[in-house]
């Protein structure tokens, strides 16, 4: 076994990047395994694109190192990296046909003309664009251009494929379809994908693991489920999905659960224990709308808060309730409309007094 097989496939070690006095990326360390789809998720200006450009070789890190398959990438120019990029604008060469675009990277490979043509045909087949081989980029649709860009980036069989907002330029319907297509192409080629996106849904469905970034730093790394169910900070909890959070204070531990005093509730609730928090510490209690139950009677279990239905929005498959608490705070709760019925069959209506309940395991306590 060689050394390169022992370590992680891609290792980003304490990488920072500054442009003048602006620090775009701060001390990022990540590892990505071979064959993974890894997403860098964050708002605009969070440093995700800069990190991607450092992987491609367009920017050199100000400090820190990047290892790909055991090889230090410092000083390696973009044209010598086994890393290809699918640009957000696709960056197809407008003066070349689809086939020439796909063949472009192969010019630098030692292969015969027949081998090259075969590879181009194989790639066009992979993205189902064989009938469009002779067209110019301006003669095909946006979705087709996206597939040409993908075929071009995959043609040289890169070790790592970087995708910069791969679905941002597509309309909603096409986006969902393309998402699954990307996943199936990744599975067939086995190439490691790193996807940069600002769209949490895109990251959740595409990626095996997600790194959530904010202000140049990685806030949390984990699987979509870990990121959603077990966020480690207010930023991550708020960035992924909707959530209602309250100021709270830890009062103690009972039966392996954390007792938390929530002034907005006017009561004490029990939550899943979090390592590192101490009695008396100020924390945030965060609740996902779909983890709350709404009922007319006080629910069983330790966590129950009474309030009044202030607002309700009916979406068909579910309804969103906004419950106002005696303290004036508002809580969002989702109710799935599992049973068919008219308005009269609703659990609660405007101005009804209701009880909110939640499982201790569903309550998220955030120390930072």
């Amino acid at each position: 076994m060689s050394a390169s097989e022992a370590g992680p496939f891609l290792k980003i070690e304490g990488v920072s990047k500054s442009f003048g006095s602006f620090q775009a990326v701060r001390d990022v360390s990540l590892t990505v395994e071979k064959g993974e789809i890894f997403a860098l998720l964050g708002g605009s200006g969070c440093g995700k694109t800069t990190l991607l450009r450092m992987l491609a070789g367009f920017e050199e890190p100000t400090s820190g190192r990047i290892f790909l398959d055991g090889r230090d990438m410092a000083g390696v120019p973009p044209w010598n990296r086994p890393v290809h990029m699918m640009f957000q604008s696709y960056a197809l060469f407008p003066h070349m046909t689809v086939a020439k675009n796909v063949a472009y990277g192969l010019k630098h490979e030692k292969m015969t003309r027949a081998e090259r043509d075969a590879r181009v045909a194989e790639m066009l087949d992979l993205v189902q664009l064989t009938p469009f081989a002779g067209r110019k980029p301006h003669q095909i649709s946006g979705g087709q251009r996206q597939r040409v860009a993908l075929a071009r980036a995959l043609a040289r069989q890169p070790k790592l494929l970087l995708l910069d907002e791969p679905l941002a330029a597509l309309d909603k319907k096409l986006r969902e379809h393309t998402q699954f297509e990307l996943m199936s192409i990744q599975a067939r080629t086995g190439v490691t994908f790193i996807v940069v996106t600002h769209d949490q849904e895109e990251a959740m469905t595409l990626a095996d693991r997600i790194a959530v970034m904010d202000k140049g730093q990685v806030k949390q790394v984990g699987s979509p489920t870990e990121i959603y169910e077990f966020p480690n900070s207010r930023f991550v909890a708020g960035f992924i999905g909707s959530i209602t959070s309250f100021e709270a204070r830890v009062t103690g531990r009972e039966d392996g659960l954390l007792a938390v005093e929530v002034p907005a509730f006017g009561t004490r609730v029990m939550a899943r224990d979090v390592a590192g928090v101490t009695e008396g510490q100020a924390v945030t209690l965060a609740l996902r709308p779909e983890k709350l139950t709404i009922s007319k009677d006080r629910p069983e279990g330790p966590n129950a808060v009474e309030g009044m239905v202030k607002d309700l929005a009916y979406f068909g498959k579910d309804s969103l309730y906004r419950i106002s608490l005696p303290s004036g705070a508002l809580v969002q709760a989702h109710a799935v409309n599992a049973r068919r019925g008219t308005e009269a069959a609703r659990v609660a209506d405007w101005d009804d007094r209701v009880w909110l309940g939640f499982d201790p395991g569903a309550a998220i306590v955030l120390a930072e």
Partner: protein, 304 residues
Amino acid sequence: MAGSRLSRWFDRKGWSDLIVGAPYIWLLVFFLLPFLVVVAMSVATKTSTAPPISWGGEVPLVSWEAYARVFGDGLYLRAFLTSVLNAAVAMVLCLLIGYPMALGLVRVAPAWRNILLMLVILPFWTSFLLRVYAWMGLMGRNSWFNGMLTDAWNVLVPVDWAVRSIPMMNTNFAVVLVMVYTYLPFMILPLYASLERLDPTLDEAAMDLGSKPARVFWDVTLPQSIPGIIAGGMLVFIPAAGELVIPTLVGNASSPMIGRVISDEFAQARDWPMASAVAVVLLLMMVVPTMLYSHFQARAEGSK
């Protein structure tokens, strides 16, 4: 209502027709009609009256003699050849000098770009004639410029080849040099315009796919700037081929360019039919390639 009457008067279809038609009227009055006059003169006969032409005499009233001489007399063909050659050399040199400058303008920091663009256009602020005279002074046998080049020459070549001064004035070299100097901005500006539109991510994409920067230029930048090269080339070649002032002032009188020939036929020889015939042939030489280019350009854009 008066207001609506006024607006109706402004909205009348006649106005939009006039606005659309204005350029055509301009072309008709100031290009096509004068050109037809020149064509008519080219088929007239030379006389000693004033004006020195007539269409009289026997039917068919026109004479093709001037055209016969344009294509029959070596003097005119040589003048055409000299013009085309000088203009072509000037165009190629403008391209070779102008392309890196235009590329530099595009790649330089935006703060510098406007200053540098300004410097490219700055020479237009002084009189063209003054600038040609300045070159005449520089190229003259006794100028410091000529002296400096002579010294450099004498250092570089064997003693036998040493010269007292380099003969630059009244040569085709001088004509090309001054034409390159004069027309360089006409090459740089269209090149800049076409290079500036290019998407820099295409360069990154080519690099990402394994091309070194020189290869990126060859594969991506150059092919996409061809419209700019053609536009700049025509803007230099067409006026350079018909150039009159530069060859008159710094050129070799024994191998004149075609502009000089037209001028001499009109003013010295007072042979208006001959001058007109040469002018018509020159125009056709310039117009036909231009029209072909626009035709292909329109077809290429139509397919987008």
